[in-house]
């Protein structure tokens, strides 16, 4: 699952959670596929973001690697309060949600195409006067 701002929704994505108003009224049920109409309706309703299926990882290995890293960071954050059962309970709540796609920071984006760098010409060469060739 991934949370996506409504303006960035792509057609074909599937809602993974109900879209509900603050007072609990469901505007659109999960399982609906995003179409141009659905998107414009959500925009008109001033919904900011929705949760859709799919994590868009390049591969399962990549997903596992990212999860492992997130989990390691989570355990480090709680490393000084391990004797507190309430906080250990909280850590477990966060750990479970990590596996459900609730990440505190965005997944790594594929690196942008590197811009072709101008070839390095070396430091400017200063010729001694006598070496200069007259054109």
């Amino acid at each position: 699952m991934i949370r996506v701002p409504v303006q960035d929704l792509q057609e074909g994505q599937v809602l993974a959670q109900d879209v509900a108003r603050q007072d609990g009224m469901v505007l659109m049920a999960k399982g609906n596929t995003v179409t141009a109409e659905v998107k414009s309706l959500l925009l008109r309703l001033e919904v900011e973001a929705v949760v859709v299926e799919g994590d868009h990882f390049a591969s399962e290995e990549e997903r596992q690697a990212f999860l492992a890293e997130m989990e390691k960071e989570l355990f480090k954050r709680f490393s000084r309060v391990e004797s507190d059962p309430v906080l250990m309970g909280l850590r477990e709540m966060y750990r479970r949600r990590l596996h459900q796609g609730c990440y505190p920071r965005p997944r790594p984006q594929p690196p942008p195409e590197p811009e072709p760098e101008a070839e390095y010409q070396g430091p400017p060469v200063i010729y001694a006067k006598k070496d200069r060739k007259k054109p």
Partner: protein, 279 residues
């Protein structure tokens, strides 16, 4: 140590000279106190500063207040949020202007704690969720000042955190003899923030000290812990601080309620951090 305190107080006095802050706030405060002005008048007064009013509206519309409809005008914001909260939003936007590009992480942390405070307030039946948001937003006011006005001290503090592995608060105490919660309180006093808001600023690490607003302080105390635990933003060091037992008892949370807050955090703090800081 008293010399150091005096010095820090002096530095905070400097803050009074910051642009946009005192003039606008005092004008509005006077208008409110005089009781001769309507909400619309005060809305108009703020609207005169367009940059400021845009920022206030952006904050009023952000996730942690959770209004289902957009807050479109300052008058509406004043009616929905009340004067004290709007005043707090003006302060917040001014404070964070001081550090705009300097510390995105702290801004995200503050926004996160505002969100978590509001979620917690709903679970513990704290009547004023808006005030809880504001308390969360402003709780680390002292850290903003440290970063903006006391850069040399801040360097030593960061070094202690990174090299010695001290918590940020320990390191502040080591270098200054006091910590960001004291600085925040002095500033809140000099800005005449409502007393209810001073408690979470001063006591969010030692909630037992709160007198005026103990429940609000307990909410911000736990919200801070939850946001650090989740890993949103940057509070100055990577560790979850200790949870105060008195605060926990006061909050009287069931595991189910805590789960609900965690769900809310997941829902509201994904990839949204910090976008308001650019406003």
């Amino acid at each position: 140590m008293s010399d150091q305190r005096a010095e820090a107080r002096k530095k905070i006095q400097l803050l009074k000279n910051l642009p946009t802050l005192p003039g606008m706030i005092e004008q509005i405060s006077r208008a409110v106190d005089s009781k001769r002005f309507t909400v619309a008048d005060i809305g108009n007064l703020i609207s005169r500063d367009q940059v400021l009013s845009a920022k206030v509206l952006k904050l009023a519309n952000s996730a942690f207040f959770g209004f289902s409809r957009k807050v479109g005008s300052l008058t509406q914001a004043l009616m929905l949020l009340g004067f004290d909260v709007v005043k707090g939003l003006i302060l917040t936007s001014s404070v964070f202007d001081m550090m705009k590009d300097r510390d995105q992480g702290l801004w995200e942390h503050s926004m996160g704690v505002a969100t978590a405070s509001s979620l917690l307030a709903q679970q513990v039946d704290l009547p004023d969720a808006e005030e809880a948001s504001l308390g969360g937003l402003l709780h680390d006011l002292g850290k903003v000042v440290l970063r903006a006005q006391m850069t040399e001290d801040m360097q030593s503090i960061v070094e202690l955190v990174e090299v010695e592995g001290m918590s940020i608060r320990q390191a502040e105490q080591e270098v200054l003899g006091f910590d960001h919660s004291h600085i925040g309180m002095w500033l809140a006093e000099s800005w005449k923030l409502p007393e209810e808001l001073m408690d979470p600023i001063r006591w969010h690490h030692q909630p037992e000290g709160a007198r005026k607003a103990p429940l609000l302080t307990a909410v911000v105390h736990l919200a801070d812990i939850m946001v650090r635990g989740y890993g949103h933003g940057d509070g100055g060091d990577p560790w979850v601080p200790e949870l105060d037992r008195g605060a926990l008892k006061l909050l009287n949370l069931t595991p189910q309620k805590l789960e609900r807050v965690v769900d809310g955090i997941c829902e509201k703090l994904v990839n949204t951090g910090g976008d308001l800081a650019q406003g």
